[in-house]
């Protein structure tokens, strides 16, 4: 099985790259001139959040049998989050700070908004590096808890988004609306087992109706 084990992956690859192609070509063509830092950081940040939402959607989706096929794209989408957040960091380092070490040091050490985002990217990097078969085999039982730290990254991303608001809250608001339910779901599972059971029951119910629908279909 290779990276392209699923025939649709090349299409997914192109599709997921489209925003990046747009951002990079706009940057190179001077569309973001004279100060490309803000648009590049905003766009890569927003797309990182979009793919993060997709990644988080995997857990509930694969529980519904109809969407099981989507699990093949799980790592792929997770890695896309990593690429967009890396581009976000590069946008900061190069376009915003011009590799001025004084500037970067000031920001990283003193601004909670900055180091919160930085820690989130560190977490995503670790997850990206341990997302391959070899790491999964090596880490065994530790792999799952390690990859659940994505929810810590989600929390940090939400903080980062609210801390960066100047006047326009829309990005922070919509991102939070999309991300918070996943955090609640995870908290449910870990700390409120009764509620979690109820959610599980609902999922089972959905599955049952699906099954009966299938039975009806095949019986016809």
């Amino acid at each position: 099985m290779t990276f392209y084990d699923h025939p649709y992956k090349k299409y997914a690859f192109v599709l997921f790259s489209l925003p990046m192609i747009w951002i990079v070509s706009s940057l190179l063509s001077g569309r973001y001139f004279p100060d490309p830092a803000e648009p590049v950081m905003t766009l890569t940040g927003i797309w990182a959040v979009v793919f993060l939402v997709f990644t988080l959607l995997m857990t509930p989706l694969v529980k519904v049998s109809r969407f099981k096929w989507i699990s093949r794209f799980r790592r792929f989408i997770g890695l896309t989050v990593f690429w967009y957040s890396s581009a976000h960091v590069c946008g900061y380092l190069v376009l915003h700070a011009g590799f001025s070490w004084v500037w970067i040091k000031e920001d990283l050490l003193k601004r909670p908004y900055m180091y919160v985002g930085f820690i989130a990217v560190v977490i995503l990097s670790v997850l990206a590096l341990t997302s391959f078969k070899f790491a999964i085999k090596k880490l065994r039982k530790n792999w799952k808890p390690l990859h659940r730290t994505v929810y810590i990254a989600v929390l940090l991303v939400i903080l980062h988004l609210w801390w960066q608001v100047k006047s326009d809250i829309s990005v922070a608001l919509y991102s939070s609306l999309a991300l918070v339910p996943f955090l609640m779901y995870r908290l449910n599972a870990s700390y409120f087992p009764t509620l979690h059971t109820r959610i599980k029951e609902t999922i089972t119910k959905i599955k049952k109706t699906e099954k009966s629908a299938c039975v009806k279909k095949s019986g016809r």
Binding site: L27, L28, F33, P34, D35, W103, E106
Partner: protein, 268 residues
């Protein structure tokens, strides 16, 4: 409208102004949208001529005046100033205008005039983003009277040898070069002499981030970013021109005395 004679000054003679296109396509003017490119795209709905300014408050002469009448007697000057935005970018712009001090003195402010308050036009038909609530409209700014009277403070009506483009605050705006850009209020319709320190827009939104004085100061960081450096625009296509931010944006000689007995770290 066009200008008669414009006298050149020594201000900024060693600086290289930003290209006209840079200064007119990269603007913060929330009345036309959040994006830096929005003002250029959307400011055509602003009708800057004719334009009335209301002079109010603690002065002998008050009332509504036509802008053209107010400045037609004055000798226009060109001054090349550095503009430092609180967002850590900066630009050099050749402004045309008259010293605010000589303009204000014509209205004979009285001894109660401790501050000067300014207001931008509020008219959502001309400034469409005022339909939204990005800011608490109208945009408000203020200066202490000695800051307003300082010889650097310019009441600008033009740039690059011509009238102000709408997106740059036509037809009349402030330029206060030792303060962060948001102090340089655009499209002014009201000037009021007041006794108390006035409420100002960004200070009302986030007092811990934007002080009333807002003097450029590399030693006082914005809570969310450092103010020690700035990107001087335009830089390269991919690599910004990062330079050190100077105290009072490099105008210490002219303005440091205004704050001699003030703790400028506390009153940022």
């Amino acid at each position: 409208p066009s200008f008669g004679s414009i006298s050149k000054t020594a201000f900024g003679s060693t600086e290289t102004p930003a290209p006209f296109d840079t200064a007119t396509t990269y603007n913060n003017f929330y009345e036309f949208g959040y994006g830096k490119g929005d003002p250029e795209k959307k400011a055509a709905s602003l009708k800057p001529y004719p334009w009335k300014i209301n002079i109010e408050g603690e002065a002998d002469i008050t009332g509504a005046f036509d802008l053209e009448d107010l400045i037609k007697e004055s000798q226009l000057e060109e001054r090349i100033y550095r503009l430092r935005c609180v967002e850590a970018w900066s630009m050099v712009v050749p402004w045309i205008g008259i010293p605010l001090g000589s303009f204000l003195k014509k209205f004979r402010p009285n001894s109660k005039a401790k501050y000067v308050y300014f207001e931008t036009l509020y008219d959502p038909t001309q400034m469409p983003a005022q339909n939204g609530n990005a800011l608490d409209w109208p945009y408000r700014e203020g200066l202490r009277i000695d800051e307003a009277m300082n010889s650097l403070t310019l009441l600008s009506v033009g740039m690059y040898g011509s009238i102000l483009p709408n997106q740059n605050g036509a037809p009349v705006r402030l330029v206060v070069p030792w303060k962060y850009g948001f102090k340089s209020i655009k499209s002014i319709v009201t000037i009021r002499f007041v006794e108390q320190m006035p409420q100002t827009t960004w200070n009302m939104i986030a007092p811990n981030e934007y002080g009333f004085y807002a003097n450029v100061n590399p030693g006082v960081d914005h809570p969310r970013w450092s103010q020690k450096k700035e990107r001087r625009l335009p830089g390269g296509l991919l690599f910004p021109n990062v330079i050190d931010t100077q105290m009072f944006n490099g105008y210490q000689e002219e303005v440091a005395s205004l704050y001699a007995d003030m703790d400028i770290t506390r009153f940022y």
